[in-house]
């Protein structure tokens, strides 16, 4: 399979798929909502299927970069068209495919300027795919910006509530991150003196220890902002609360993983000495993320704020895994990226659907909704259970692996982090109880349960949560094989 696929530019096709949809959408009149949605869906499903194919056909026994495409682009400064995937990328590309498909299905009822909405959404997707596939740092940054910037318009135009504030806050935050990343990448480029942005060559270069110690925090914080590293996380609750459903799904599901992925791939992989020096500090910060995020969620009353804080907490687990500095912890972190991506996509999708019916997100204004929308209630409960780490769902595998791995490096802090499983149970079940259980509010007695598109969207996500929860062996082999070089490099220092 891999040999056959090796002959065609598989990766390029995947990330161009949403871009093709964008081009196609330009020629569709914006008034024809149905056509706009169908075209978006078709292309995103195509990219999803191809990412699934990629997932299956990646040869994890061989490991390393596969499906490589390498052409000179601007040889003078070492900017090359360099695409390739390892196990981590494969998992994250699949995640992106899942989330975008579910996201488009979930926004099937969007009727305010859908053409522009889907164009921006798909551009964002292109950027995300690109980041997860490229191994040229220049292209990496380019795709990164493509992924980050449409957010401003998507929230500012289609958002709810205090959307302008949220959009501006989010954009400024992420641009601060981008500025740090750009500075860091240029620093790397000039420090190597190799005149290349190609990751594989840079990775071979032994950076000066002082340089590593200076540039590690710059790059880690730059990416960490997007991964909601405490105390740079406050864009996330506001941003998620204001964003429209699909954007919340994509943002919390995929974009935050972009940050975590960047953290792992660039600062940690390239600067092992800097990582050894700084990661204990990072671990403490992520601990704050985990515990503080989950406690912060307890007293929130807005559903989206609750999930946003739980995201902060769960992303803390990802970052803690990255700070764990061994293969098991890294695997856990990457798996948690995938798991949390799907799970939080589900959460935001469900909240969007609930909000579309009740027109409120205040948990104290909704009671007993399971009576009128049992399907949504079941999905919500399952997602919540995944979030609190119930075995059989992917969240458990991710957290267990991370904790087992990190325990080797930071035993005491791991134990503190485990406290979050209790707090998470507390707020998740509290929400389920208040919103879905108990007697139904009379005003909601005529609400309809999920429609076909909604069920389809949720089912795709839920399928993978259960699949990865029950049978994590394959994807974990994939991920583990690819984090080994990183762990070996740090371990060797």
């Amino acid at each position: 399979m891999a040999e056959f696929l090796g002959n065609i530019p598989f990766l390029t096709i995947i990330y161009l798929m949403p871009l093709c949809a964008v081009i196609a959408l330009f020629f569709i009149p914006g008034t024809n909502h149905k056509a706009v949605k169908v075209v978006s869906l078709v292309f995103s499903v195509l990219s999803f299927i191809m990412s699934l194919l990629l997932f299956i056909s990646y040869d994890y026994k061989k490991g390393g970069l596969q499906f490589v495409e390498h052409f000179d682009w601007i040889p003078a400064i070492g900017v090359n068209y360099f695409m390739g995937v390892n196990g981590i990328n494969v998992a994250l590309v699949l995640l992106t495919g899942i989330i975008i498909t579910a996201g488009i299905l979930a926004s099937w009822d969007l009727n305010y300027r859908p053409k522009e909405f889907f164009i921006l959404l798909l551009m964002l997707t292109t950027g995300v795919y690109g980041v997860f596939m490229t191994y040229n740092l220049f292209l990496f940054f380019l795709f990164y910006e493509i992924a980050v910037l449409p957010m401003y318009l998507l929230i500012g135009i289609w958002g709810t509530g205090d959307k302008e504030y949220a959009a501006m806050k989010l954009t400024l935050y992420l641009l601060v991150g981008s500025a740090l990343i750009l500075a860091g990448l240029l620093g790397i480029y000039f420090a190597t003196g190799l005149h290349t942005f190609d990751f594989d060559k840079i990775e071979q270069f032994a950076f000066d220890p002082t340089f590593q110690k200076i540039f590690f925090p710059i790059l880690f914080v730059g990416f960490g902002i997007l991964a909601a590293l405490w105390p740079f996380h406050t864009w996330s609750p506001d941003g998620h609360a204001s964003a429209p459903t699909a954007v919340s799904m994509l943002h919390a599901g995929v974009l935050m993983k972009l940050g975590a992925y960047g953290c792992l791939i660039i600062p940690v992989w390239l600067f092992p000495i800097g990582a050894k020096f700084w990661l204990p500090v990072v671990a403490v910060m992520t601990l704050v993320n985990i515990v503080y995020g989950s406690i912060g969620a307890v007293k929130q009353t807005d559903l989206k704020y609750i999930v946003a804080y739980s995201s902060v907490s769960h992303m803390g687990v990802v970052l803690l895994g990255i700070a764990g500095m061994n293969d098991v912890a890294f695997s856990g972190a990457v798996f948690q990226m995938v798991s949390h991506g799907i799970m939080t996509g589900l959460f935001f999708g469900l909240i969007g659907m609930t909000y579309g019916r009740t027109h409120t997100r205040d948990i104290h204004k909704m009671h007993g909704l399971a009576k009128v929308m049992p399907v949504l209630a079941v999905f919500f409960a399952m997602t919540g259970l995944c979030s609190l780490g119930l075995p059989g769902l992917s969240g458990f595998v991710a957290e267990l692996t991370t904790f087992v791995g990190v325990y080797k490096t930071f035993p005491v802090w791991t134990i503190i982090a485990v406290i979050s499983i209790v707090v998470t149970a507390f707020y998740v079940l509290r929400v389920v109880q208040i919103v879905f259980l108990g007697p139904l509010d009379a005003e909601y007695k005529d609400l309809k349960d999920a429609k076909f598109t909604e069920i389809a969207s949720l089912s795709i996500l839920m399928f993978f949560i259960v699949l990865f929860g029950v049978y994590p062996f394959y994807i974990m082999e994939l991920i583990h094989g690819s984090v080994l070089p990183i762990a070996a490099k740090i371990g060797g220092m």
Partner: protein, 633 residues
Amino acid sequence: MEQLNVLGLAIPALPLLAFLLITAITAKKKMLSAVLSISCIFASFLISVYLLILQLKAGHGASYEFSFPWLFLGDVKMSLGILINPLTTVMLIVVTTVSMLVQIYSIGYMKGDYAFSRFFSYISLFSFSMLGIVVANNLIQMYIFWELVGLCSYLLIGFWWFKPEAAEASKKAFIVTRFGDFGFLVGILILSYITGTFNFAEIQAQINAGLISPGLLTVIALLLFSGAVGKSAQFPLHVWLPDAMEGPTPVSALIHAATMVAAGVFMVARLFGIFSASPHAMLVIAYLGGFTAIFAATIALTQNDIKRVLAFSTLSQLGYMMLAMGIGGYTSGMFHLTTHAFFKALLFLGAGSVIHAVHTNDIQLMGGLHKKMPITSITFLIASLSIAGIFPLSGFWSKDEILVNIMESGHMGLYYVAAATAFLTAFYMFRLYLMTFTGKPRDAHAYEHAHESPLTMTVPLMILAVLSIVTGFAGIPGKEQSFYNFLFFGAHPHETHFNMGVALSSSAIAVSGIALALLMYAFGLIKPEAVKNASGPLYKLSYNKYYIDEIYMFFIKNGFFVIASAVKWFDRHVVDGAVNLVAFLCRWAGSKLRLTVNGGVQSYALIIFGGLVFIAAVFAVWNPDALKLLGGR
């Protein structure tokens, strides 16, 4: 031994199959769901019996184990597997038997419920999870299924989710047990880090080799035990179990009396190698168990809800088992678990039958039901006698052996606690029985409508009654072919002998407890009201469960919620405030700097010239040679 792989896997897999089929296919067809579920658990039961026979033939020490990979990460290997040894088979029999009988009973009890199929799917899921714990051969699998039974407990307590109390109770059950699971998980993390494995046998080998320092072992043992404390509702995490009675009564019988809550005891038994290697941990277990036993028994004295009395009785009996485990009575603890599973399930199902008939849980509104429902009454009486420890019922044998073990261990304080608990148990059980089934009906309306339950309900009662009587004979001390020679820890069975003194004294205690109950509630020689008034605050304390719930709520409200609000405030105002402060500073600086754009050409010119000269000056200072006008020549 290939067939053992298949059989071992089939035991938990069959209920899972039932769960999946009911959820996916037969949800609309109620009877089909029930039949499917029951036949699957029946098949599991048959296999369990077969395995038990195999084990009995093979004798002690015959254990069979196999694993398959679930998650391999370099050195960290997590597997799923099955371990079949005497402990497994005993527990398998208990779980499948009770589960099967409860399911049969439920056909009658849940009849007419709108979510009949859902009930059976949950019960099947529970059976799967519980059997998963039982056959687990490693800590990870145990933890996985440990959590899954917690989920089932959550789902089944909240089965009637539209009742606010049920929703609240299910949440409480899950969260409180999570506290214990936190310790369990941390214990697993530490243990796996030290030993590098999750497998029971491999861990045991390392402990035997003395590779783990005793201090660390105590810490690990206590952490693991905290999982058992949560699941078996030992003090101080006992608060969820009484509330869990909001669930349907068969659920209470299956999960919250016979099997799931006993999982804590089972876990201690399974990991007995770890616990027994740490005398301090054992002492903690013994004393905590003893305390819970008497503590719950005193609460049970005053409760008026039929299910809550039984719930506190369960707490008390679980404390008994823990106490037995703690003083090293591995076999007697497990034996009591077995007998208790049967008679406590019987008590709950009987209570369910009563509730089914009179539609109330309050024993103050019952009375005289013996005439209306004789089968329920008689089976209930058998179970009550059994739990009180009356010869020759099963409770007598198991409880007696625990007492003997305690006495042999030399903890006389614990012995008196256990004896006192036995007295209280006999008293409250007969208080319950007498108030429910004898005397005059207190609520005529309820009495009028009461009727004996249908056969689907009474047959399981009768079977359990038989089991409550005969199980004890398996464990008559000193016999060659006894429970004690089948299931024991270590190389040799624990020496058992019938201690006439203990037997007589415990019987006397039980009889006196029953007699006191008779005096108070049957003959009216001592007025309960008078006792109530005489004990005053003590009665109130007991009636209100020592205000433990209120204390917890106080701490949650004034501790946890305050912290949560503080975090919320901190995040909004300090962290986000800092962000907004930066934004504000930018705007403020902009509003001030804006004033420099005053429209005055000359002030612009001043700034331009000033800037130019400043730069030139800096440049000149930095590199004075640059000032040489003809530098090139």
